[in-house]
């Protein structure tokens, strides 16, 4: 009896069924693959025809993916910096220097039980964190990270930003109202009053800047500040920059304006009744807001991705592989070997116990590291978007550090002091700033 026959005989009925089904499934999948291959070019051409759509989808996805590590990084930064200000060590057990702790917090929150309290308005209660989180993410979409590297650039980007920023208040108010908790209600109403009254100085403080630049597109605002450091708007609009920073702090509900989740007064403010991942959304949105506010401050007043000074050593990488011809092959073949030997030889000579192969391995690793470093350096000095990105994040995290610093230092203001400050000081100051700017523009135009 043939092998096939014996095998078939030993199969149980489900085994037989599977044996029949497998080839069929394979055939079907092959057919599907063929269809894809045939229709692929059409799809590609379609996407190529309307590229903005593709660009938008890609940018939105990228921004959405950007928020999570950003929030984790800022949470870890806050933990460590505040610990440093408290003369503590801070997290140092989970991951190197506790760097994984924020991720662990996030995943733990994800795995917690998540329930709606009795009496809560379930629909509003469920959607409030989503609204808050999405508002933060959407306002990230218009920020230019580097030359040519931004989600969308349209001429009312600034207006869009403030509109979306105002949207987050709706989320907080929903949370406070739907939680069926008086502390939450107080927190939600506080946040509504606070954010709405600080919207006005926040918006007015940038009008002068808009007058100077003549545009509301963030990308072009950054381009206006290119050149030397003196072209930054902070030097042309110092008062505006100050008002913007203060109002933005209140906008992001950060200390000393964190009345909405004042731990010592109203237990956790609007988030009192939230648990699990819904609380995690609030948690993330707070830190994403910090990042966004810092990024916007940098974009508007501190030159965006412009370097404060030009790179002193201009390097022109003009390496045309075609010009090398055959030598290119030699280069590719020889350079790794030579580099590996170059790194491995001193080790092997110096340490007699080290076997040659280990020395070669270490040398190869070191060589690769060196190649990567050189590549990054070349990219930094040659591709301007890398430079822009580096400067942008550097400036942004300086401001993030400032927020954390304020949180570690300052007590909380009272609600009436908050309102007095907004209406009696910030608003007149921003109006004055606007007036002076307009006057200066008119006079200079004459």
């Amino acid at each position: 009896m043939s092998v096939v026959g014996s095998t078939w005989g030993r199969l149980t009925p489900p085994g037989k069924a599977l044996a029949i089904a497998l080839p069929v499934l394979t055939a079907l999948s092959i057919g599907l693959l063929a269809v894809v291959v045939l229709l692929g070019p059409a799809v590609v051409t379609f996407l190529g025809d309307n590229l903005p759509l593709v660009r938008f989808v890609v940018a939105a996805t990228a921004v959405l993916l950007l928020t999570i590590p950003t929030a984790f990084l800022i949470i870890y930064m806050e933990m460590k910096v505040i610990a440093f200000m408290n003369l503590r060590i801070g997290p140092d057990r989970v991951g190197p220097y506790g760097s994984a702790l924020s991720v662990v917090h996030g995943l733990k929150v994800l795995a917690k039980e998540d329930f709606t309290p009795t009496g809560a308005d379930r629909i509003v209660f469920t959607w409030a964190p989503v609204v808050v989180f999405l508002a933060s993410v959407m306002s990230l979409l218009v920020i230019p990270f580097a030359p040519g590297l931004f989600g969308q650039d349209f001429n009312i980007a600034l207006l869009y930003f403030f509109a979306i920023g105002g949207l987050s208040v709706v989320g907080l108010l929903m949370a406070g109202w739907a939680s069926f908790n008086k502390y939450s209600l107080l927190g939600g109403l506080r946040s509504a009053a606070q954010v709405i009254s600080y919207e006005i100085p926040l918006t007015l403080s940038v009008v002068g800047l808009i007058i100077l630049a003549g545009t509301m597109s963030l990308n072009r605002l950054v381009l206006d500040q290119s050149g030397s450091i003196l072209d930054w708007f902070v030097f042309r609009q110092p008062l505006g920059a100050l008002i913007f920073f203060i109002a933005a702090t209140a906008e992001a509900n950060r200390t000393p304006f964190d009345l909405t989740e004042a731990d010592s007064e109203i237990v956790a403010g609007f988030a009192t009744e939230y648990s699990g991942m819904r609380f995690g959304f609030f948690f993330f949105a707070e830190y994403v807001n910090v990042f966004i506010i810092s990024a916007l401050t940098v974009t508007l007043f501190f030159g965006g991705w412009n370097a404060p000074f030009d790179w002193p050593f201009p390097v022109a990488v003009s390496l045309d592989p075609a010009s090398l011809g055959i030598w290119l092959l030699v280069l590719v073949a020889v350079v790794p070997v030579a580099g590996t030997l170059f790194f491995a030889a001193p080790l092997w000579v110096a340490n007699s116990r080290l076997p040659a192969w280990q020395a070669l391995v270490i040398g190869f690793v070191l060589f690769n590291l060196a190649v990567v470093a050189v590549g990054l350096g070349l990219a930094f000095v040659s591709f301007d978007w890398v430079v822009g990105l580096a400067w942008f994040f550097l400036k942004t995290y300086v401001f993030v550090y400032t927020f954390v610093w304020m949180r570690g230092t300052l007590p909380r203001v009272r609600i009436d002091q908050l309102m007095n400050f907004a209406w009696k000081w910030l608003l007149p100051a921003s109006l004055l700033n606007l007036f002076v700017t307009a006057l200066a523009v008119v006079i200079l135009a004459k």
């Binding site: 085994g15 662990v104 733990k108 648990s275």
Partner: protein, 242 residues
């Protein structure tokens, strides 16, 4: 909340022996998940025994019976065994490393609890620092201080407001056993009369190092629970006769 049997037997004051003692999140490990062989009959008569239940015939036993390799050499079988519990294990590693206590102190021990979180001995190093003010976001309830009969209700409400998975640490003699107020007319002799306790930290009050040691013991418990927190007795368990 049904805390007591409707008509407790008179004179059952000391009767706390037969009640379900709240095990501190501990439960035996699950059996590894095995894939029953329902697709073919083994050619090897040793492995092909029909009297055994079908689900006991596994690929691993096939492998053992074939005598070619040892059972432990089966990489894919090992994977089949390990993967389902490994996920819970990773989840427990995560939970173990971020235990947010509830910011609630009852009495003297609360000061030492705060001292355990401050600069001298820093609980933040294990990720235990953000003392949440709202029970909805807390993981650990550190009952620090004497529990009086008047405070027992609010404390139970706090415990029931905390989301799963949650743990309870009894800090101080008063919460472990009644301590120096055992004779009093208004205290509860140990919180394990009204709620499950995972870790007892004796001392009057225990030093902050003691509390931190207890929290590290709690971390071990969380790690050993291997993601089976639903099996933990949750909610108040009260002996008869109180």
């Amino acid at each position: 909340m049904a805390l007591t049997p409707g008509t407790p037997p008179a004179g059952g004051a000391g009767g706390g022996a037969e009640l379900p003692v709240p095990a501190g999140g501990r439960s035996e490990l699950v059996e590894p998940i095995v894939v029953p062989n329902t697709l073919w009959r083994p050619a090897d008569p040793v492995a092909d025994d029909r009297d055994r239940a079908l689900d006991e015939i596994t690929h691993l036993r096939q492998l053992e019976a074939s005598g070619l390799v040892r059972r432990d050499d089966a990489r894919w079988g090992g994977a089949l065994e390990v993967i389902p519990t490994k996920a819970d294990y990773v989840l427990d590693l995560i939970r173990m490393n971020s235990l947010w206590p509830l910011l609630s102190g009852l009495a003297c021990c609360a000061i030492e609890m705060m001292s355990a979180a401050t600069s001298r001995n820093d609980m933040d190093r294990w990720g235990m620092f953000p003392f949440r003010a709202s029970p909805r976001q807390a993981d650990v309830l550190i009952v620090a201080g004497t529990l009086t009969t008047k405070m027992a209700g609010p404390l139970l409400r706090l415990w029931e407001q905390m989301p799963e998975p949650k743990w309870c640490v009894a800090m101080g003699d008063c919460t472990c056993s009644g301590g120096r107020y055992k004779r009093s007319y208004s205290t509860i002799e140990g919180i394990d009369r009204i709620m499950p306790v995972d870790v007892y930290v004796p001392g009057c009050p225990p030093r902050p190092e003691g509390l931190i040691y207890g929290m590290m013991k709690l971390q071990q418990i969380v790690k050993d629970a291997r993601g089976h927190w639903p099996e933990k007795p949750v909610g108040p368990t009260v002996p008869d006769g109180i």
